[in-house]
Amino acid sequence: MVTEKQHIDDILIPILEKVSDPEIPVLSIMDMGVVRSAVIINDIVKVEITPTYSGCPAMDVIGDDIKSALKDAGYNSEIELILHPAWTTDWITPRGRQALEDYGIAAPLEAEEDKGVLLEGKRLVKCTNCGSQNTRLVSQFGSTACKAQFQCEDCQEPFDYFKCLK
């Protein structure tokens, strides 16, 4: 498991926690693990964020949203996009995983199980509606780069599954 320490000034945490992922409004960018550092240097907040997927169009919006949230709190800021170390689904916090599930997106499984459900037709993803594991892969790719489409064979609910990325 990749563990990379985040450097975020305590005073900034409540501000950044209010910024959410534009594609998944219930999920704070802090719980998503995309903020890698945020420190105040000479009255300017320097923020480093890392993209979930290279082509994720939400990153530009997230950068703008962080700027405006910090502005509202009285800070000027500079946002930098960093690629290393690369984002992994391990960085989604337990609270973030719960928020995803509550929103109707199944949280990522571990790498081996992920391969099993996406390639070998295994039924391990829990339906976000009824909790059944009798779920079927509809498409390896979903509404955004980070998700796949599933359907529950018991309650028939279609739902997204957040793919494991390591």
Binding site: Y53, S54, G55, C56, L83, A86, Q140, G142, Q149
Partner: protein
């Protein structure tokens, strides 16, 4: 400016740009909703990767060039992508065949690029390799499904592989920039990827009940800017807005 490094980056990035554009053509035209979304998702990943590469290339160029200029304002002979990735979406078997033959290479290439002495390139590779392993799984899966599917899907998949095979040898050719970058520990020695590539490709083709073509006649040129007729048409689509309305922005 570091001329060789700049050229080397374009050589990598142009593959993703042109293949991304090809896949983007399927937006709204895929054979089913799921494959349509898959192809455009892969396209999006590739464009995201291109942005990282071109932003870095623009920094190296050190003049007022931007990532958009590099993507949109070069002439055909100044693109260094492989001939393979510019081949058209003749039918879905071609789209999958092209993707598979590129993905296997791309995954092996990026795995090696992670060890680059250039820290930006290794960071980009580290990011991209995760995405590309999904692409490779997707295209390998479809090769098997079509190859080991119906009589018709088998024949179409075999035809596509036979036709695209002629572009595979170029994956392992080196330009002067490549050789220099390898000697500096920055670039990947693609000649060393060849054996593993064909082994992996054979494995999947066999599992898909497809035959590995025996033809030894191969096309080359893309890496030096000499392209098939298809690239000009792709570029006219890609560049139309910037050429017609210079400097326009969304």
């Amino acid at each position: 400016m570091k001329e060789n490094l700049y050229k080397y980056i374009l050589g990598i990035a142009d593959n993703s740009l042109i293949l991304g554009q090809r896949l983007g053509e399927l937006c709204g035209h895929g054979p089913s909703l799921e494959t349509d979304i898959a192809c455009t998702n892969i396209s999006l990943d590739l464009f995201g990767q291109v942005r990282s590469y071109f932003q870095y290339a623009a920094k190296i160029a050190g003049d007022d060039r931007t990532e958009d200029d590099i993507a949109m304002l070069r002439k055909e002979r100044e693109y260094f992508n492989l001939l393979l990735v510019e081949q058209p979406n003749a039918n879905f078997a071609y789209t999958i065949g092209r993707q598979f033959l590129f993905d296997v290479y791309h995954l092996a290439f990026l795995s090696e690029l992670q060890k680059s002495a250039d820290l930006t390139l290794s960071a980009i590779a580290n990011k991209c390799v995760k995405e590309v392993s999904y692409h490779e799984r997707f295209s390998s899966d479809w090769i098997k499904r079509l190859g080991d599917g119906t009589k018709e899907s088998h024949q179409k998949m075999q035809d596509a592989i036979n036709d695209l095979w002629t572009y595979t040898d170029e994956l392992f050719h080196q330009t002067e920039a490549d050789i220099t970058m390898v000697s500096e520990g920055i670039g990947v020695d693609v000649t060393k990827l060849k054996e593993g590539y064909y082994k992996r490709v054979n494995e999947i083709l066999e599992a898909a009940t497809l035959e590995t073509p025996e033809s030894k006649y191969f096309q080359k040129g893309g890496k030096k800017g000499m392209h098939t007729e298809h690239l000009g048409f792709i570029l006219s689509n890609l560049q139309y807005m910037q050429r017609t309305y210079p400097n326009m922005k969304w």
